[in-house]
Symmetry: C2
Subunit: 216 residues, 2 copies
């Protein structure tokens, strides 16, 4: 019985890693769409995200079946409850990435990114992609050091998020309201995406070490 | 054993209703702060939201204890898993309301709401408060008809959300970038708040009738 349970837990973990990998792909395509006005990449991001939602739903069903069959307690129970939360966060990350892709679609053939903020958004995109890749590793190896590194990197995303508002609210900002709306929302999506990475990695750290890192 | 379990389920439900009631209070204070530049209301919203996060955390712990002690299956198990998700959504709704309160704090003594969008935001505030109150009733009575009414009202929130962008992107919009940023984010917070109400009420409908209403 214990062996069956262990192999079921492993399957849950593998599925979380798989969903996390898809989120990386969605974000790569969505940021490419956002930064280079590439509508075909935007469409692909939206398509993969749809499939990912189905995967998350199927994972939740699996977790509920395991809970019913195995009646786990203590740490095993917490791992499964956390899996449900991680799956919800990963699904949300895919949706946030898709919002970036949608901005690109709306503005096509124009760009959603004004020149004055191009570097900032390139850095935010690269950071979020990096964070999503590290998260996949954390989920695969329960790597606690990596989980801590993630928290430090999130601070840089927050810094960039604040810097977007500094630029937009400065006297030098000459862009129209459309750009103001786009960059405000896009910056918020990047920041929330990174927040979810931190929340998930905190959960993995907690499950592995028992230490709880407050994420908010 | 079954009686103990029933009384534990009832406690979970009562706590969800209590947290949902607090979310109504947080939103009432936050929208008042946002619409009338009332910093003291903003502070109170933030304070109640902090307490609410603790309540949500305590509820999650209770649910995990019940899962461990009672090893529920079938519908009972689904009710408890849903309680975890509803608690996470309610916590998030409190946080979204607090973002509105924070906008008011940043802009004080000025207003975060330009005259041209005052009516829109008053309607959005009233609708979100109404939705949050109905949600409390849905959680209390598993009222499926009310859950359906909620889904219709959310459509009006989405309409208002789109209308904010129409105003901001029209030639008549003469406000500065600060207002553009504030109304863009505020409108998004109102819309997300209503989304969470719909998601939770769909879960209650599903648990009560077995019918799943897609919310996205």
């Amino acid at each position: 019985m214990r062996e069956v349970f262990q192999s079921e837990l492993l399957e849950v973990q593998e599925r979380l890693v798989d969903i996390s990998r898809s989120v990386v792909t969605i974000l790569e395509k969505a940021t490419d769409a956002f930064l280079t006005n590439n509508v075909s990449q935007a469409d692909q991001a939206l398509e993969i995200s749809d499939a990912n939602e189905d995967k998350a739903l199927a994972l939740d069903e699996l977790v509920i079946k395991i809970l019913a069959r195995q009646s786990p307690v203590a740490r095993d129970l917490r791992v499964l409850v956390s899996a449900l939360r991680i799956s919800a966060s990963l699904e949300r990350m895919g949706a946030l990435a898709c919002h970036l892709a949608s901005i690109a679609r709306y503005r096509f053939p124009g760009s959603a990114v004004p020149d004055s903020l191009r570097k900032t958004f390139e850095e935010m995109s690269a950071l979020d992609i990096q964070l999503a890749k590290k998260l996949t590793e954390v989920l695969q190896n329960a790597d606690v050091d990596l989980a801590r590194a993630i928290q430090a990197e999130d601070e840089r995303v927050d810094e960039l998020h604040r810097s977007v508002f500094e630029v937009v609210l400065s006297d030098n900002w000459k862009e129209n309201a459309m750009f103001t709306v786009d960059v405000t929302l896009a910056s918020r999506y990047f920041e929330r995406f990174a927040d979810h990475v931190v929340e998930i990695s905190s959960k993995v750290t907690y499950l592995t070490t028992g230490e709880w890192h407050e994420t908010e």
